[in-house]
Symmetry: C2
Subunit: 302 residues, 2 copies
């Protein structure tokens, strides 16, 4: 993947800031090893795509930087908790994640379940800072409430958790393309779109700009999953940092099994074009990093 | 237990309102059976003590009734999700709750984990209503943010989840009274205290009144657990609606094992008196229902 040098530099800074914020706001001192398990589940790993999307969207609308950092940490905590729970024996039963043993392998199943539960709560703690905490002055109560509203809906029954329920129910069944898209729009897309919208909420937009950013987020959300399904069959575990070929092994429908590999690749391209068209339609002048993130989502190799 | 007739009538109305609100706001249409599992986990059962505390505290500060109803539903959702996860095989491995098979027995472990996860998210959805939703006009963004902040902290690593982590680590170990109290103050007390404070947040209080209500909530929170530990050894499963004697069987330290039965009873009385003194100190004229709820917590038989 060939990324422009200025984008690479921007990304390096954004990743360093997100990592430092996670390091600061995910507690080491939670009782009885809980903090350790939470930190193990979220620090030092992951592409941090969601915080990058929040930041790029916030920059496009000239949003408040520390509010965007808090939103990025919150959405990453929701993403990370979902992986911790998803890897457990009663779900995907995976032992490898981001190249490390999964949380339940390291801290036991009860420890992993509690760590995930506490990470979800922490996301909403981070969005509602006490007066005097880092960035609290940049986060008016109305922004805090808006960010909580967006994140709760993306994480909940109509979003990520709902998509996981469909995923669970789909094992061994065949889905058509519309059903598959609905599942992934909830399971993966909702939180990616939410990242864009949380970033947008930190600044000001017209209704049309908001709608365009929502379309952009929706398109890259589905594109991300299409590419994930492609990589699951074309890359090895070492490159992915997680067990490859799991979907096939578990007899889960994917874009590759439903459409075939070539058509899945074409679908990823089509969604990429759709994301760029939506961005263009937003008319926001500072949308370059959002464009480059869309490129990265589609061209990534892991 | 002998409760005054007007309190019984108030409670009947409050319970009916809480039940109707849960019925309305916990979705039946979430995908792939998720809504059904969520509703099974929270509807039609439970003492609803937390919504009662929210309502009584809201009335004491002349708070907005629908805001209090939303807060009551949100805190009950957090409580119910914690029971769903707590009953799972990797935690307490309980098959009976509120006289019915537990959620994982009915919907499988993955279904129970997801339902609990979605219930936690739903709590924050209920606290941040879309404009036009029931009661949204009573909930200024600042109140939404305040309620989310209180609930997230009570549910998270420093509160309920932290207490559960200590509980898990305490199996087969001996705790002294201070450690036991710290565990229960987090595991059970934080959410009960939070119920009182969420109710208080719907109206207006002085700092001194807020502190007095926090003390009241803290005292009844610990008292609730002391009484729970007493009932676990003195009542049968049929009366409790859950498996009795579990703590002893699992070799978990309780107030009864640490203090002995008589000293545990004395401790419950002492905490009850402490709660009433804090209420008195609040000086709020409409505190009668909070007083009666404290009586009920200590005198209950299940």
């Amino acid at each position: 993947m060939n990324l422009p040098a200025d984008f690479t530099a921007w990304m390096r800074q954004a990743l360093a800031d997100a990592e430092a914020a996670l390091e600061r706001w995910v507690p080491a001192d939670a009782p009885a090893g809980l903090g350790e398990a939470m930190r193990y589940g979220v620090l030092d790993g992951g592409k941090r795509l969601r915080p990058l999307l929040v930041r790029a969207a916030a920059e496009a609308v000239h949003g408040a930087p520390i509010a965007a950092l808090r939103a990025g940490v919150a959405v990453e905590l929701i993403h990370a908790y979902s992986l911790v729970h998803d890897d457990m024996p009663c779900m995907d039963n995976d032992v490898l994640r981001r190249g490390k043993p999964t949380v339940h392998v390291r801290y036991g199943e009860a420890g992993a379940m509690l760590a995930g539960d506490a990470m979800q709560a922490l996301a909403f703690e981070v969005l509602t800072p006490e007066p005097g905490a880092d960035g609290a002055q940049e986060m008016a109560p109305a922004l805090q409430a808006r960010l909580c509203a967006l994140l709760a809906r993306a994480a909940g029954h109509a979003g990520m958790a709902g998509g996981q329920a469909i995923d669970l129910a789909s094992i061994g069944r065949s889905l058509d393309e519309a059903q598959l898209r609905d599942m992934h729009r909830r399971k993966t897309g909702a939180l990616l779109q939410c990242s864009v919208l949380m970033g947008a909420a930190t600044g000001s937009t017209t209704a049309a700009q908001w709608a365009a950013l929502a379309d952009y987020g929706d398109a890259i959300g589905v594109a991300f999953q299409v590419v994930d399904d492609i990589l699951d069959v074309t890359q090895g575990s070492d490159k992915l940092g997680k067990t490859a070929g799991k979907d096939l092994e578990q007899d889960k429908p994917t874009y590759v099994t439903v459409l075939g590999l070539e058509a899945a690749r074409a679908e990823a391209k089509r969604l990429h074009a759709q994301a760029l068209a939506a961005l263009q339609r937003s008319g926001l002048p500072d949308r370059e990093h959002l464009k480059q993130l869309a490129d990265m989502v589609v061209d990534r190799e892991h």
